[in-house]
């Protein structure tokens, strides 16, 4: 997963959503030729594998919701890794998978997001060599009251558990939530909307190595996702 011509990305699949993943972001013939192989692996929250499968790289988009429904029915949250191998001519362009996410029968807008590139790729472009990519932050608006926030974290390491710190800032109040994840384990960490009367304004994530990480925002009434976004590294 860590060779210079490979990229391992990860996302999470919830039941009830349309979830379409673009195998190559650029839709041109050369981009398709340069994606040489793609293997997916599914993990339940405890980290156990639910199966590994090769994907036909001639496909442009993958119906991830259908695939997970078939392979892991009834699992509330599945982490899916995308182990992609590229012809090295693709570099220095940094490949991505993007995805379209829509809660079925919901009045909300669909979301479109970059699948979290976690391991490999172009090392300096994912800030894995000269920069720290395991210290991230995200900001929140102060006003909306009908939204609930969280961090969705997954450990892509094969052998090493990780102890992460999720740090919330409510005004001047700082709180640390430790999170321990075994290999391939994943978790939803709830971020309290208020603390001591102050609103959640910022979150930080500190880990020893990069995790698959997304900020989530959900409508309080329906639970539908309205935010599914990557965090930002501090050091660029």
């Amino acid at each position: 997963m860590s060779s210079s011509s490979a990229l391992c990305s990860a996302t999470f699949v919830d039941p009830g959503y349309d979830h379409l993943v673009e195998l190559v972001h650029q839709r041109d013939r050369a981009a398709h030729r340069r994606l040489e192989a793609l293997e997916l692996e599914l993990y339940e929250p405890g980290g156990a594998s639910l199966g590994r499968m090769a994907v036909d790289t001639r496909q442009e988009t993958l119906d991830l919701a259908a695939l997970v429904a078939a392979r892991a029915p009834g699992v509330a949250r599945v982490m899916v890794t995308f182990d992609a191998r590229y012809d090295s001519r693709v570099f220095p362009y940094r490949p991505h998978h993007y995805a379209y996410l829509k809660l079925r029968d919901s009045p909300d807008a669909p979301l479109y997001y970059a699948v979290n590139a976690t391991l490999g790729g172009v090392p300096e472009r994912i800030e894995a060599v000269t920069r720290q990519n395991n210290f991230e932050t995200y900001l929140f608006l102060s006003r909306p009251a009908g939204e609930r926030y969280g961090l969705r974290l997954g450990n892509l390491a094969r052998f090493s558990p990780v102890e992460a710190q999720v740090i919330t800032f409510h005004g001047e109040a700082r709180a640390v939530v430790p999170v321990t994840l075994a290999p391939h384990q994943h978790a939803d960490v709830e971020l309290p909307l208020e603390r001591e009367g102050a609103r959640l304004r910022r979150v930080e994530l500190k880990t020893l190595f990069r995790l698959a990480s997304y900020v989530t925002g959900r409508r309080a009434d329906s639970g539908g996702l309205v935010l599914f976004d990557h965090l930002f590294t501090y050091f660029k």
Binding site: K102, P107, D221
Partner: protein
Amino acid sequence: MFGALRSAARHFLGVTRTSTYYLPWITRPGLRCVLLLNNVESRFTTARAGGPFPAAVVQYDARGTIVARYDAAVPTATEPLELPLDAVAEGHGFVTVDVARLQSDLYVTLGDGDAYTATHGRHEFVETYPPWTRALHAALGAAADLAGMTLPAFVRHQYVYVGAHDRSHVLLLNLSNVTNRIRTTAVAGGATTGRRLDAIAPRGAALLDVASLAPAGSAARVLHLRFTGNAWFNLYLVGAGPKDLAGPLSLMHVK
């Protein structure tokens, strides 16, 4: 090789590129667009004790007209500034932010009072063409327009999604000071399903309705679009639900 040619062409045409941070904006009745300006990524640098940090914002509408200027300032490295874009009740376009004193990605949010969606801007550039090049663009562009074509200076590819209850529109941003004629070709299942040509004013924008490119009555869920423009441009996706542009929207950057 291709990059060198492009660079030589820019030099020949007298095109200058100015480093610019920009974000898209959309306003609609019931939809609040707020910028979240911050300098939090500077908090481990010498800037952490500074502030306020000036962050002048210029808001361009779809016609490229400046509809508002905001003398914004981020209070401190850890205290963001929320800046509502309320100068226009209904419209779209982009804003530029002076980030000379900022060292962070900036966010744009679309909210309905209960919840909001968010994405971030891009630190890229805008292109400025000198008068003679603008005249050349105008003449050649008009001629190409008659044939439904454009001068193919820049090409982008993007998937979009269309369904009975949801779709992703495209917000095209003209990041140059010439009229940008952007030709869009849509393909689904190997067949071309639609073409259109949009002339976007300098520093203007166009909200491209994906339904105009989908084949009527088709079950196609994914369209791949190929955009060709005569000047620099970029795009954001605009997610829309069952009420289309009258309902909640999301904005999303692309690579």
